[in-house]
Amino acid sequence: MNKKFRDSLINLGETLAMLVLALLVGALMVKISGNDPLEAYSAMLTGAFGKNPLKSQMKIYELLVKVIPLMMVAFAMSIAFKAQLWNIGAGGQFVMGSIASTAVALYVPVPIPFRIALSLAAAIAAGAFWGWLAGWLKVRFNANEVITTLMLSYIANCILLWLINGPMQDPYSDLTQSDVIPEAMFLPRLIGNYRLHSGIFILVFVAVVMCFFWKTPLGYQIELVGQGRKVATYSGANVDRTIQTAMLISGGLAGLAGWIEMFGILHRLFPDIASNYGDISNIIALLGGLNPYGIIASSFFFAVLINGGSSMNRMTNVPYSIVDVIQGLIIIFVIAKVILHRKNSSAAVKKSK
């Protein structure tokens, strides 16, 4: 227990050091671009939290609004990642979930409460199906999931574009978007007119479940499959089925994220609804070490970075792309850390006997 605790402290320290380093290099970039790094970062902070965090509630609520999809998708990805399934197409599963649930909301003529339940089920099922497809392709044809999930993600976006240009296009305008879903189906807002909506309760629920998930037999099984096909098979796991299950759950969670975003914030389909959640959540999941607590913390970090970054962009001469640079650096550091650890612990041991 003691050692475990120490290990997680070390791990935390390394992660923090990584972030600091990324921010420092980011500062250097700002400097090189002829701006004041201090000003840039303080603009970022006030952008994210407001001048006086106690008074500017709005900023805090906006942070939470951002955290919801980021964390949900990061959880989704972490489930596949643990099995060493690189589901980088969670954005596509998110889109499929949004499409399916919007379609139900707009076209299925049942009473609103049923329609909500139905749309929720449709979102999860559509995302799950999209994720499972990649799992099935891997099991059946040994297709690399990095490629299939990415391709399926493109396809999902194409389907979306086709739908909002054709069958599902908004009948009241020429814009490439769908009609607005019935207002009675919106996720209720929590505080006045702020955008923070009750989808956050679903997120909390999912976060709690995730904190236990890796202790369930299924969680163990998924993690075991990530340890290698041979040892998992030897241990009696059905590797092919577990791969499909992991992708199914991963996709289902991404689809659920799509539902929350659709009914909480967006209320209609339009191009690029998944924004770049897929990519950022990917980093969040890895930065958080696939650990639920780590993911919760990194989601907040990135929400601050994104919200703060866009207001820094508005308030100073520093372009938003500095946020992308910092993201890129974090990816590099995360990978470097993984490689370093592998080198330290395994290389030598592998070579010995």
Partner: protein
């Protein structure tokens, strides 16, 4: 003052606060073979990895030929004339011998790769040391013993004057071991200095000039090998006497438990490797399967545990046809399996030890509480196993890859035997284990048998087979060559292993 080839003085290496090496002095005389002995986890591999530049010591200095050197990488070690052959070979399988040699090291003379010239030099070296290696064969076509010779050849070709061999004979058949010793003696004659890590005490007497014993990371002493007895060495290693005797096995007759009929299977390359193998194993019986490595033993074990699909024939368990079932089915039927390959099959190397103990029991009620896998129960299970099997580890939270080779094997044993098996398939169960642990494992196999289990022991170690088996089956070319009773003649077993049929023997 005479110069040593290697002097390691006051070497200390700490892993996670535990001293794997504690102020060790080690001296290797030039032109000698030096045995390095010690129980599992004593720190032998660690010490040699330091000499080879894979680990950095926390304290202590290293002198090569009297000159203090800072060995911070294998490249540096190689340039100092140090070569090391690890137990797990690191050759690129689809390439030829000569390509492998050139792969890591380009050419000694610069950027130009001259395959032909290198091949010729290798051939000369191989002939000089009677290794019989053709530089143009592909690695995967070589037996384990041959691959090992390729590793040694590579090291010599790279200019190694000091050769470290980590448990080289663990994977060799008795015949191969003889040839191998011959090669080593030739090398000694040529002035090379050799460190030989081993668990086999006979090898010390047969080959070695001096022997150093480690225990718990400390150096116990260095002795001349001449005249030293097995018992003395054991006492140095273990710190007490170890029993070598086994009581005769009491007769049990519980009927056929596992019946194998005309089994055929192909190996990973699609080549037939079981060609109509049949064998019955009774409850309360150990059948030892002798054979030269690579004659279908591994495939047989895998088919018997559901890890490989047979292409023909059938398996009956308690009379029920269980051919083609999944690994889970066999686990649930209490068929335990100690696989030969512990690194990718037997253990999840990046999982901690506690979890490795319950690999096959995920979802089992025994380790669950309120629908979740229960950390406390899992820890208790580990603690008991660690104590019972004397696994040397810190606290069970470390990864399996941090264990020494022998302790990894003990963990697998603990897991498989704790499942209280009805059938036990043990493939090379004591490979890499020290004598104390080996005796313990054999004791456990026999306990399992006495408890009524049907046990199949596959081993390259004939002595082990003779020690534990009620009957000895010999496999060659994927077929059963014959079954001999306990106490059979070694040479008879040897002939069967070389592919002579029992009937032919009778005619001679």
């Amino acid at each position: 003052m005479d110069n040593y080839a290697v002097e390691m003085l006051g070497i200390t290496k700490i892993f996670n606060g535990v001293k794997a090496n504690d102020a060790i002095d080690f001296r290797l005389r030039p032109g000698s073979i030096h045995g390095l002995l010690g129980e599992n986890g004593a720190g032998k591999t660690t010490l040699m990895n330091i000499l080879y530049g894979l680990y950095r010591q926390e304290e202590g200095i290293i002198k090569i030929n009297g000159k203090q050197e800072n060995i911070d990488s294998p490249t540096k070690a190689i340039s100092l004339g140090i070569g090391m052959v690890h137990q797990h070979f690191m050759l690129a399988r689809p390439l030829t011998v000569v390509e492998n040699v050139m792969l890591g090291h380009k050419s000694r003379r610069g950027i130009l790769l001259d395959t032909k010239e290198t091949a010729e030099e290798l051939k000369d070296l191989s002939d000089h040391y009677h290794m019989g290696i053709d530089p143009y064969t592909k690695i995967y076509q070589l037996s384990v013993g041959e691959q090992q010779r390729v590793e040694i050849l590579t090291a010599i070709y790279m200019g190694a004057e000091i050769l470290i061999l980590d448990e080289p004979t663990a994977v060799l058949t008795p015949q191969e071991t003889e040839e191998f010793f011959h090669t080593l003696r030739e090398m000694r004659k040529d002035g090379k200095s050799i460190v030989l890590i081993t668990h086999k005490l006979e090898e010390i007497a047969a080959l070695v000039d001096e022997v150093t014993v480690l225990r718990d990371g400390k150096m116990i002493g260095t002795r001349r090998a001449e005249g030293i007895t097995k018992e003395e060495l054991t006492r140095m290693m273990v710190g007490r006497d170890v029993m070598f005797n086994f009581p005769p096995l009491a007769e049990m007759n519980l009927g056929v438990k596992l019946s194998i009929r005309d089994l055929t299977a192909v190996n990973d390359r699609g080549v037939p490797s079981l060609n109509g193998f049949s064998l019955d194993i009774h409850g309360g019986e150990i059948v030892g399967l002798a054979g030269v490595d690579g004659n279908g033993q591994n495939e047989l074990c895998e088919v018997l545990t559901g890890l490989r699909k047979e292409t023909g024939g059938s398996i009956f368990l308690d009379g029920e046809d269980v051919s083609g079932k999944t690994p889970r089915f066999y686990i649930d039927k209490k068929v335990s399996y100690i696989p030969e390959d512990r690194h990718t099959t037997g253990l999840a190397m990046n999982w901690n030890l506690k979890k490795n103990m319950i690999l096959k029991a995920i979802g089992s009620k025994r380790f669950m509480k309120g629908g979740l896998m229960n950390e406390k129960l899992i820890t208790q299970n580990w603690d008991t196993a660690r104590d019972e099997y004397q696994i040397k580890a810190i606290d069970g939270d470390e990864k399996a890859r941090a264990l020494s080779g022998g302790n990894q094997q003990k963990l697998i044993l603990a897991r498989e035997l704790n499942a209280d098996p009805d059938v036990l398939i043990a493939n090379q169960p004591t490979r890499g284990l020290d004598i104390g642990a080996s005796e313990y494992v054999r004791q456990k196999l026999i306990e399992s048998r006495n408890g009524g289990a049907a046990v199949l022991v596959v081993s390259a170690d004939l002595e082990e087979i003779m020690q534990v088996s009620d009957r000895i089956a010999v496999i060659y070319g994927g077929r059963l060559m014959g079954i001999l009773p306990r106490g059979a003649d070694v040479y008879e077993i040897g002939s069967l292993m070389m592919g002579k049929r029992q009937e032919e023997l009778a005619h001679e």
